[in-house]
Each structure stands twice: as C-alpha cells, then as structure tokens.
C-alpha cells in the first residue's frame, strides 16, 4: 500500500514534442485515481512513466516513500492491466497469473495457492488450464486482473482496460474492478477516455488536455465546478452548453438582449462564456430564456431537446414523463445552474 507522488514530472520526446508539461500531484494511499482526457492528451504517457515503461524527462515519481525514476519496472512493485490484455498466448491461465511470482523466486506451492485464491475471486477457477485463445474477451480481461492481483502490488495501473469490451460487459467489469479495488485497498491509477468511466469509478479525477492538467478533483467537484470550458464540455453527457455572451454593468447579456439570471460578474466586462448543463434547465412558461427546439432525441429515461438559444447551439434534457414538442419554448434555470468562463483562456470565473 502506498501513495503515489508526481513532482514536476515532464515528458519531452526526442523529436522535441512535449507530451506532458511539468505535472505535480499526489494520490493518497488506497485511492482510485482516474486520468481522463481525449486521445493524445498525455494520460497514457503519464501512466507509462509511473510504470517505468517510458523514460521520465524531468521530475520525480515516487511510489510510497521511494523515488522510482531509476528503478526497473519489475522492481517497482506495481501491476499493470493493458487495453488488449497482453496475456502470454503460449501459457495457460494459471501460468499467466503466476509468471511474475515465479520470477520473484516464490515457491510453486505458494504460487499455486495465490493463483487459486485470485481465480476464485474472479470466477476463473474452471479456466486455469486453458490458454488465452480459448477465452472470451471478458474472461481474458479477468485473467489480466488476476495477474495483477496475485502480485499484491503497491499500485495498480490500468491502461484503458475496458475499451475492447462490448458496452454491457464494460458496465459489469467497471463495477467489478471498482469493488475489487475497494476490497483490496490498493492504490490505483486508471487511464480512460470515457468520462462515464471516470465519473463512476474515481475517488479522484485528473482531467488532462494537450499535455497539461486541466483540473484535479473528486467527480462531484469536477462536475459541479469545472475549472475550464474544456473540463465543462468534456465531463458530463450530454456536454455542458457553452454560449458566447457579453458582461457589462453587472450583468451578463446573451446576443439578442436576453439577460442571464444568476450571473454575478464580479466586475468582469467584455466577452464571456456562459455554461449551462442540459439537465440544469427546465421548460417553464414563466422562464427567463427563450429556446427554439429543432430536434427531439429519445433516450428512454430522458429526452434531449436540441435547438438554438440566442442563435447558438443549445441542448436541454427533460425527464421522460414530460411532454416535448419542436418549436419555441421558455426555459427556467434550476439553482446554481450558471457557470461563467473567461472567453479567451476558457478559465472559470468566480
């Protein structure tokens, strides 16, 4: 068990491209920390540097109270689960799981016991003598998990472990991984591009974009107080609506003259971005904002109304029991619905 600390860790590739700007954060012992961001944002690079599969250009990575920069991956006491499982195709499930232990010089009886224990935990007992090619995708993913568990590592590293599974299995494995990590109490870093995975699994989320950290926080903090327009639009489905507006005379005005309620501008003037989540507005005859519905998307549990507000794209989520029709309607804001961002940098205001 250990906490993980990155101290001004930076990655520059030999061709000069900076994959990761100097990043500093600590993951407390036993937490599951999700690194999330679009492809190419540097999240996998960060994970691979912690694993020791990628050189660290600058900065220090510590696992526990040990700086691991110059320590071989095999000696960092970590376990990694890969996207395509990375099982050894010529070994049985049991040997796949026991390989790391064998190389640590553990005796056969002890290895067999640990493998059996992990296999029971993951419902793999009947497959121990099979080869990976004889297993389904979900079973292979479990074997990869088993291989990680038997090592009893200080740190689990997950590199998009669920991306190769179908949607139903993914939901199920998501819960299993989360439950398992809780039960074992092992610190974990989990890379994904799927914001739903990030929101549902994480104790703490690190949102990355273009090689820098946009925000670090609990799922709730990230959702309620996105630090930038990037985080606002990346986290949450459907994404937050972002509208161009003007601040002045202590209020925020949409193009066309409608005033956005709840918006305190703190003396900010000029161009501004207004963020409103689709689920934070509701149709109401006395609403302050006008909205023109073009398309209605049925999602079963709710409906999404897509259309225009003040000439800009806007979406509204309404519960399934609420009737909706295309055309003009008025919207009322729920409490604390308005987020304001700087128009140039996209940073949160206030």
């Amino acid at each position: 068990m250990a906490q993980v600390t990155l101290n001004a860790v930076r990655k520059v590739y030999p061709n000069g491209a900076e994959a990761l700007e100097p990043s500093t954060f600590t993951i407390p012992d036993g937490e599951l920390c999700v690194l999330v961001g679009p492809s190419g944002c540097g999240k996998s690079t960060m994970l691979r540097m912690v694993a020791g599969l990628e050189d660290i250009t600058e900065g220090e990575v510590s696992i526990g109270d040990r700086v691991v920069n110059d320590i071989d991956p095999a000696d960092r006491n970590i376990a990694m689960v890969f996207q395509n499982y990375a099982l050894y195709p010529h070994m049985t499930v049991a040997r796949n799981m026991g390989y790391g232990l064998k190389n640590r010089g553990m005796d056969r009886g002890q290895i067999a016991a640990k493998v059996r224990e992990a296999a029971e935990m993951l419902n793999l007992t009947e497959f121990l003598d099979r080869r990976p090619s004889q297993l389904s995708g979900g079973q292979r993913q479990r074997v990869a998990m088993g291989r990680a568990i038997v090592r009893e590592p200080d740190l689990f590293l997950f590199d998009e472990p669920l991306s190769n599974l179908d949607a139903k299995l993914r939901n199920q494995m998501r819960i299993e991984i989360r439950a398992l990590q809780r039960r074992l109490g092992t610190t974990a870093m989990y890379v994904t591009h799927d914001q739903v995975e990030a929101m549902t699994m994480a104790d703490r989320i690190i949102v990355l974009s273009n090689g820098h950290i946009e925000q670090i926080g609990t799922p709730n903090e990230i959702y309620e107080h996105p630090a930038s327009t990037f985080v606002a639009s990346f986290m949450g489905a459907p994404p937050m609506n972002l509208l161009d507006a003007e601040a002045g005379q202590g209020r925020v005005t949409l193009p066309g003259g409608e005033v956005v309620p709840q918006a305190g501008v703190n003396g900010h003037t000029g161009a501004i971005k207004v963020g409103i989540r689709p689920e934070d507005v509701a149709p109401s005859a006395q609403g302050d904002l006008s909205f023109n519905v073009d398309i209605i998307e049925e999602l079963g549990a709710q409906r999404l109304l897509h259309g225009k507000m003040a000439g800009q794209d806007f979406s509204v989520a309404v519960p399934k029991d609420q009737e909706a029709a295309t055309g003009e309607m008025r919207l009322a804001l729920k409490a604390n619905a308005v987020h304001l961002f700087d128009a140039d940098q996209g940073r949160r205001l206030g």
Partner: protein, 293 residues
C-alpha cells in the same frame, strides 16, 4: 469449411489442372523414373540397360564413400542449420532493439540474400584461397596452414561457413518480422513481470517466435541438403577427390561425372525417403509443441 457451389465435378478439376500438370511433369514423373532406373544398370553410353534388382542399393550400403558422404551430410546439415538460425536470431533480436538508423542496419543485413549461390561460393573460394585468400592469410598469421581442397576438414569448414553466411539474411528477415509481430504490450507486461532480459527472451519471446522458427527449421534443412549444391560445386570445382561431399552432390558426381545412372538414381531415392521421414518427424513431434496464435 463452406462447400462451394460447383454444378459439376469437372469444373474444379479443370481449375486445378495446371497445378497438377506442373507437379506431375516436374516432380512425380522424374521421381517415378528415378525409382525405376534405380533397379537397372546402364552401360557407359546409355544405350542398353539391364535389370539388376536391388544391387544398386546394396552397393550403396557397402560403399565406404557413400557412408562417409552420408555422415558428412548429417554433420553439414546440423551445423549449417544451427549456425544460420542461431546467428540470424541473434542479429534479428539486436536489430529489433535498434531505433536510430534501423532501416540502414536491416538493409545491410539483408543484402547478402541477393547474391547467387555460385557467386557466394566464388567469394568463399577467394577468401579461403590457398595463396591469396584473406582468411587463409589470417589463419597463417596465427600459425595454421589452411589448405582448401586438400585438407578434408579445411574444405568442409569453408563449405559450412559460406553456406551459413548465405542463409543468414533469409532467416534474419523472417525472425525480424516474427519479432515485430509480438505485441508491444505483451513485451511490456513481461517487463513488469520479469527483470531479467535474458530470461524474458527464453520465457516469452522465444516461444512466441516458435512458429517462425519451425518454418525456418524446415526451410534451412532443405537448404542445407539441396540448395547448397552451387556453393559446394564452386568450392570443390567438380573434382571430388578427397573432398567432403553431400549426398546431393554425390548424386550429381556419380550420375553425370561417373556415368552410373542406376547408382545415382538409387541415391536419389534414398535421399527422397530420408527427406520424407524427416518431414514426418518434424510435423509429428515438433509442431505439436508450437502454439499458433
């Protein structure tokens, strides 16, 4: 397998016919002819032939020359196969790790492949030449008198060295592509599981290369047995004398130089049976241990 919808059995046969005709003309017919003529003795000019039963075969078993050639062929094949596979694997593993200038390295290593066997033999002859050969001179410097074409094992080593050298590029290309087909993530998983690079190679990389290795083993044995003809011919210059000969080269020497077509045919039949047994053994016992993924 899905059954194709052919209305009549004649059509698929028609499609297969060119291939079958080629195999029949260039393989089955000469093979059958060899079997037939191995039971006959022909006169010097090939006008008459007499049925002699198994005499051509019994003559082979009694011939010390033939047994010597058989022994040498076994040694030659084992050494050439072992070294050409081993060295190529080593080069491929090293080249696979090179990141900068990888293409140049690879091209240089494959270059030898483009050289025709007789030319390779000629280069070998020049290197090992009695008076001017660089290797001869090098060995002389260390006090060893190297005599190509005179000393049996000196000649044999030249044959082996040149044959190995000629075969390395082919093996190298296959091993390299085999290595590159191993998923990066599997190697990385192994790096986390095992600190020692050497033991990772034998535990993970080598077994995953096994299908490539098995294929190359068969190719290399066939190469050593048959395709080294050009190299051997250049080195012994058609003058067998006391020189080491492989079975294939003896078939040629006895049949076309010695005019003993019957004996030569008997030798080819023996060779054919040997290769058949070898292939069966390989597929029966070795391939079982290999896992194609």
């Amino acid at each position: 397998m899905k059954r194709a919808a052919f209305g009549h059995i004649g059509f698929p046969i028609l499609l297969l016919l060119p291939q079958l005709v080629i195999i029949a003309i260039f393989f089955y017919w000469p093979a059958a002819y060899a079997v037939q003529s191995s039971f006959y003795a022909q006169d010097m000019f090939g006008f008459t032939s007499t049925f002699v039963g198994a005499e051509n075969y019994t003559r082979l078993i009694d011939s010390t020359n033939y047994i010597n050639a058989l022994n040498f062929t076994v040694i030659f094949t084992v050494l050439v196969t072992f070294f050409s596979l081993g060295i190529a694997l080593l080069l491929a593993v090293k080249a696979d790790k090179v990141i900068r200038g990888a293409k140049t390295y690879r091209t240089l290593l494959m270059w030898v492949y483009a050289i025709a066997p007789p030319v390779a033999g000629l280069i070998g002859v020049m290197l090992f030449d009695q008076s001017r050969g660089n290797i001869t001179q090098l060995l002389a410097f260390f006090g060893y008198e190297y005599r190509l074409g005179v000393n049996y094992w000196d000649t044999a080593s030249a044959m082996i060295v040149v044959s190995v050298w000629k075969q390395i590029p082919v093996n190298f290309i296959f091993f390299l592509s085999g290595l590159q087909a191993i998923p990066q993530s599997v190697r990385e998983a192994a790096m986390i599981d095992n600190r020692s690079g050497t033991s990772r190679f034998w535990d993970i990389t080598f077994p995953l290369l096994a299908p490539t290795g098995f294929f190359l083993l068969i190719i290399n044995i066939t190469y050593s047995l048959f395709d080294t003809f050009g190299i051997i011919d250049t080195i012994v210059k058609g003058e067998p004398g006391n020189n080491p000969l492989t079975l294939v080269y003896r078939v040629y020497v006895d049949g076309f130089r010695g005019g003993d077509l019957g004996g030569s045919s008997a030798q080819s039949v023996v060779l054919m049976v040997l290769v058949l047994i070898l292939t069966i053994v390989q597929f029966r016992f070795l391939e079982r241990r290999i896992h194609y993924t």
